[in-house]
């Protein structure tokens, strides 16, 4: 095992701190968990009236950040791996269905859930990290890195 040259501990920690500030802000001001899959899922299935606008605006903020930041640093959005359209569609469907069934993703379980010291979110995070690692192993070591 070798550590790749692109390892970015300082930038990644700063990025993480910003994510933590945004998630803490949503909790302190609106009392909600900043899980992106949960925020998106709630748009499709409204639980209580007046609960949709903040979800849409949070996602619009994410989208706007991509527009603005890519203007300065387009290299931060480089794809960098070899995936066919079919692989991307299967991956997208798996992430969409999996996060709803498992009620959370990297942000909801991995950051907010672990931050709440939730046993459920810890189990979820260990599970999706494990299957992601197995998938990458199969793609890179068995299928030669391109699917």
């Amino acid at each position: 095992m070798t550590v790749m040259e692109s390892f970015t501990p300082i930038a990644s920690t700063i990025g993480g701190v910003l994510i933590g500030i945004a998630a803490a802000g949503l909790l302190m001001f609106h009392g909600r968990i900043a899980g992106i899959s949960g925020i998106a899922g709630g748009i499709f299935r409204q639980r209580q009236s007046g609960d949709t606008a903040w979800r849409v605006m949070f996602l619009v903020g994410l989208f706007a950040a991509g527009i603005a930041w890519s203007f300065f640093r387009p290299e931060d959005y480089a794809f960098g791996i070899e995936r066919s359209t079919v692989a991307l569609i299967i991956a997208g469907l798996a992430v969409g269905i999996g996060t709803q069934l498992g009620s959370g993703c990297t942000s909801g379980h991995g950051v907010c859930g672990i931050g709440r010291l939730s046993k459920r979110s810890t189990v979820a995070t260990v599970t999706f990290m494990a299957t992601a690692a197995i998938t990458v192993f199969i793609v890179n070591e068995v299928l030669g890195g391109a699917v």
Binding site: G15, G25, G35, A65, G66, G92, R120
Partner: protein
């Protein structure tokens, strides 16, 4: 109005954090899980940075505040049991994350950045989210209303 502007700013800061942290580069995500190739530990530092901020703020706010600044109550997950849906759903999510290199947040913000790969992935992801939630709505409709009145609080994230 302030809630909408606040949510927009929250999403924007979150999205810039994802980009600076490297979460919007599928090669870095795959690199984190590539223990047998050239390992890139960056993702662990993103999670660490987020947890350093979020964990103490969560404890402080939820334990000592009467309510959030703009809302009457905190809406927090209430479930504590480990069930099959949690594990199977998370397992399916992990396969998609390792295969496509995007989790939901980076997918949304990378579409804004004009990535065609993110667009293909993101549209498929929203179809998956929408199909699942519509199916649940149909099932709840047949059962005569929401399966659980506390359903909103049962979503972990």
């Amino acid at each position: 109005m302030k809630v909408k502007v606040g949510a927009f700013l929250g999403g924007a800061v979150f999205g810039i954090g994802l980009a600076i942290g490297g979460m919007t580069q599928p090669a870095k995500i795959v690199g984190f899980f590539d223990f047998f190739g050239s390992w890139d530990p960056s993702l662990a530092f993103v999670m660490l940075g987020a947890l350093i901020v979020y964990t103490p703020v969560y404890r402080w706010a939820v334990r000592t505040w009467q309510h959030p600044i703009w809302a009457p109550t905190f809406t927090l997950p209430t479930r504590r049991d480990i069930d099959g849906r949690l594990v199977v759903g998370s397992a399916i999510f992990g396969v998609g994350w390792g295969l496509g290199g995007y989790c939901p947040g980076p997918a949304f913000t990378s579409v804004g950045a004009g990535s065609m790969e993110a667009l293909t992935f993101g549209v498929s992801m929203l179809i998956g989210v929408g199909l699942y939630q519509l199916l649940m709505r149909v099932r709840e409709g047949r059962a005569g209303g929401p399966a659980d009145s506390q359903a909103a609080a049962m979503i972990d994230g």
